[in-house]
Symmetry: C2
Subunit: 554 residues, 2 copies
């Protein structure tokens, strides 16, 4: 595993050292936190941190990654990974402090029951503000299936989350509330060939600036630029995946959001970590200009918005804050609340009711614990049949019937339903990296396969996945990335080697899942996606099962 | 499927007609209710009714059977099975009335939210008392994973339940609250060869009366005769499967129970259906002689008793009544409450707290819905690692580490953890049908295999499983059973044919589960049974995985 980073490293450690049949909350599980190959260097976009474990939500292997400062700081501190093992004897909570002098594990019972924001405030009081924090909120402490792990952004706000798969519950099961990283006194990591690295990095940055998605769309509007696009495409899951277009979309679009932020004195263009040149994050403020939350991402705006019939950006921002503070995956929570709405717990469109439901999770009431356990459990407990999950994980913001490539990714990813595992939306809808008709079953398997391989590799570099738009369309930008890694490590990697790495990572993950009991039957969407057409295109998911079984047959 | 009854028929219909990947609460699932081959005849012990479907609890195929009058009455009415298909358009509740004139489906919204006892009272008011009822309580209406289906006993009390696997939730999802059977005007079913049948039946009954278990132990004390036996063997799961002996066992034993019932004017010897000659059921009354519930079975007394640290028979009887009334599997509920106690929701031994928790289910509060969803969901929602389930279904009253044969059955049964699927306790502990050391891993696979095959066959005859004690020890009693079936249908079945039938049933069930996504990895106990020794014998479950994979390799 020498020389591996990010997802390659977390998945390698988990698949080598964690018994696939162990209980995800048991001492046998491990939580692996790994920065990328170039984290801590001067390389642009190298700010993702991977979190791996056996997932309490899916029961399979999990890698969830986050932006924020943690990857860069942990990289500078010289760590390839933090591994939390075993289980505490009692219910004492701990915090871990890492700086140039080493690692300290300290009791932290005073942090019990705090949200991420207060937890980070306490960390600042104790360790100063030259730190990066990795923490869990109440949801992680309660070991809930939707619990995330928060990483702080450059302003020390716990806004960047390794959200999916309940990784926060595993951190909670290890009794660790907070990891504080302080790289004071540590230098930036230096490449083997500084000149070549600098040159490659320059070409890489130019490529990102040149591409319309990373150079214009994302900086101006953030990821929420997608609301209008996906809604227009008829692939915007509305009312718990019952319709493909939402009447209120314009009210919660990225354009409206950026305008609102600007008018109120917020900021629609912000980088979530040092070294980001895309700057797709932002700051959402209230009518009086006070900070509410970071600019909610497209998937969050969808999950808490259109999927629940809610068209109020301020309410969505409040939900985003609550999720970040309690430590919850916004996708899982939005999907869960829509299922709860189908169960009659609230009316679609009732923003205040949605806010109260998320607050329940923070309080740890029985209802809160149900919701915090995610959409699948909520569906079980309330007897709801239409629950949009694969391998127990909720589907994100693209209806798989109207963007069939992403449907293939949802169905077959080692991670459960996950758009980032092979973002076919790029080619199906945005026409990046080619053009495959989103409504046809043709060509989706190949598309998803190639993207899943590429993504597994990118996730292992620690690079932000948004570089993919530029490297898919611009071969010279892809070459610049490879040149950066080669110059940094003194390697001679080719594009084929990158593909091989991606395949190796996926193969490890598939093997873990196989040993954990997954079969081809788990590489499927719920039956209703095959039987229930979604308007406006009135399409079902019709990629044949036999084709799905070919995704990993390369 | 011509000429098949009971479990053979339910499993055949489910595996032929239900898509294995469908949602258990969807229109695609079917609820099949089938009496046995000799139900409705003069044959002794032919009172079991099988209920089959895809299980909402396990996600696999399910057959749960019950005593009571339903099988006999449905048999006389001439039905091989009732099949509930599809799904109602709205939330109207229905009742089904079947008599000599045919079938009527009637609205029954007045029964909404009623427990089984009140539901049956209403049925009596409307249809008189010459009926048998099949019904669900609030749990089934809420479609909870622990929801049972109740059948009435000869006194028209809803006390005999098809308990396991959430079959009540499937009945609820079909919108059917109640099935009323009235065989007025119908004759007993007559055999092809009445004389041979009568003779075989006589030999059969003699065999049952002669065997110490069916002739003495069960009539005198009911199934609860096992408390002292299993506790003595160190295999009595106590405090959520943490110890193998319970200090309070004597206070809740069958001996104490029968004595209490007699002293108060109850009845420890009672048949749950017409034609029963074992008479292991009974009536539990309070200090003033008022009916509380039917005599709680051993597994119920264990689940709500020792497993929760409770040693109060009156409290256990109240819990049994609540389960019957709300329509809950007593095994699943006892296991669930013990998990909830591990989660800190109540203290082990606190009977009043346990009663309040079960009442929550009836009320349909969020906490009640969690608990009513069973042990696996409760463990997930409350972050408990030690949850004694296989395939999502809770283990019954025998610790698999100290009775390893039953551990093999729990692990490998198509049904999830289920003692009745292959009752190795008989041979491991009671020394019926041979003697296999319960603490050794040797010989358990063969024992469980043979018992699972035999059980699948017996469950298909509609005979009470308790005939197994006599037919395992007394070849002439087994022959008498075969002779009965042959005389009734004009067949020439041999013992080998019976074995073949059992194998055929298991093979169908295995195939369904395979298509539903089950693998050998699901034929395992939770890891902690392999790692955590149980006192007093300090044994772990050490039957090798490779051996478990040989159970169905005949």
């Amino acid at each position: 595993m020498r020389g591996w980073g990010g997802r390659a490293l977390t998945s390698a450690i988990v698949s080598k050292e964690v018994p696939p049949t162990c209980h995800p909350l048991s001492a046998q599980n491990k939580l692996v936190i790994a920065p990328g190959l170039l984290s801590g260097s001067a390389g642009a976009m190298s700010g993702r941190i991977s979190v791996g474990c056996k997932s309490p939500l899916t029961g399979g292997i999990k890698e969830a990654n986050a932006g924020g400062q943690a990857a860069q700081v942990l990289g500078r501190l010289g760590y390839a990974a933090i591994v939390l093992e075993g289980k505490p004897k009692d219910d004492t909570l701990y915090k871990v402090f890492i700086n140039k002098d080493g690692v300290k594990v300290l009791p932290a019972n005073d942090l019990k029951g705090l949200g991420n924001y207060k937890t980070v405030e306490k960390a600042k009081e104790e360790f100063g503000d030259k730190i990066a924090c990795i923490s869990i909120g109440q949801a992680g402490e309660m070991k809930l299936g939707a619990a995330s792990i928060a990483c702080t952004d450059p302003e020390l706000r716990p806004t960047r989350h390794a959200g999916r798969g309940g990784v926060g519950a595993v951190m909670g099961s290890k009794g660790v509330k907070l990891i504080v990283l302080d790289d004071t006194g540590m230098k930036m990591r230096s490449p083997k060939d500084p000149e070549a690295f600098k040159d490659a990095n320059k070409r890489f940055v130019e490529g990102l600036r040149k591409h319309p998605v990373t150079g214009e769309g994302l900086p101006a509007y953030g990821t929420n630029v997608l609301t209008n696009v996906i809604n227009e495409a008829g692939a915007y899951p509305t009312f718990n995946f019952k319709e493909g277009r939402f009447a209120g979309a314009a009210k919660i679009s990225g354009e409206t959001q950026a305008e609102t932020e600007k008018a109120r004195g917020g900021n629609p263009t912000h980088g979530c970590h040092r070294g980001c040149v895309i700057r797709c994050s932002g700051v959402y403020v209230d009518k009086d200009g006070n900070y509410v939350t970071k600019q909610p991402e497209y998937e969050t705006v969808w999950a808490h918005g259109g999927n629940c019939g809610i068209d109020d950006l301020d309410a969505i921002a409040q939900l985003d804050f609550l999720d970040d503070d309690i430590g919850l995956d916004t996708i899982e929570m939005g999907a869960t609340i829509a299922v709860a709405m189908d169960a009659g717990l609230a009316k679609f469109g009732d923003a205040q009711a949605a806010i109260e439901l998320v607050k329940e999770v923070g309080k740890g009431t029985p209802l809160g614990r149900i919701l915090g356990s995610g959409a699948a459990v909520t569906g079980k407990v309330f007897g709801v049949e239409r629950v949009p999950v694969v391998k127990g994980q909720a589907m994100p913001a693209y209806d798989p019937r109207a963007v069939k490539g992403i449907g293939v990714t949802y169905a077959t990813s080692t991670m459960g339903a996950d758009h980032t595992a092979g973002y076919a939306v790029a080619t199906n809808i945005l026409k990046v990296g080619g053009d495959v008709d989103p409504l046809s079953p043709q060509g989706q398997v190949e598309l998803s396969r190639n993207l899943q391989i590429a993504t597994a590799a990118i996730d292992s570099t620690g690079m932000c996945l948004f570089i993919a738009f530029a490297i898919m369309d611009q071969p010279e930008t892809f070459q610049a990335l490879i040149d950066m890694i080669n110059a940094f490590y003194g390697l001679n990697m080719t594009a084929d080697d990158v593909t091989e790495l991606g395949k190796k990572v996926l193969a490890m993950e598939r093997e873990f899942n196989l040993k954990a009991g997954f079969t081809s039957k788990h590489d499927r969407l719920p039956d209703y996606f095959k039987n229930e057409p979604i308007p406006p295109h009135n399409v079902t998911f019709d990629v044949p099962d036999e084709d799905l079984d070919q995704v990993f047959n390369w």
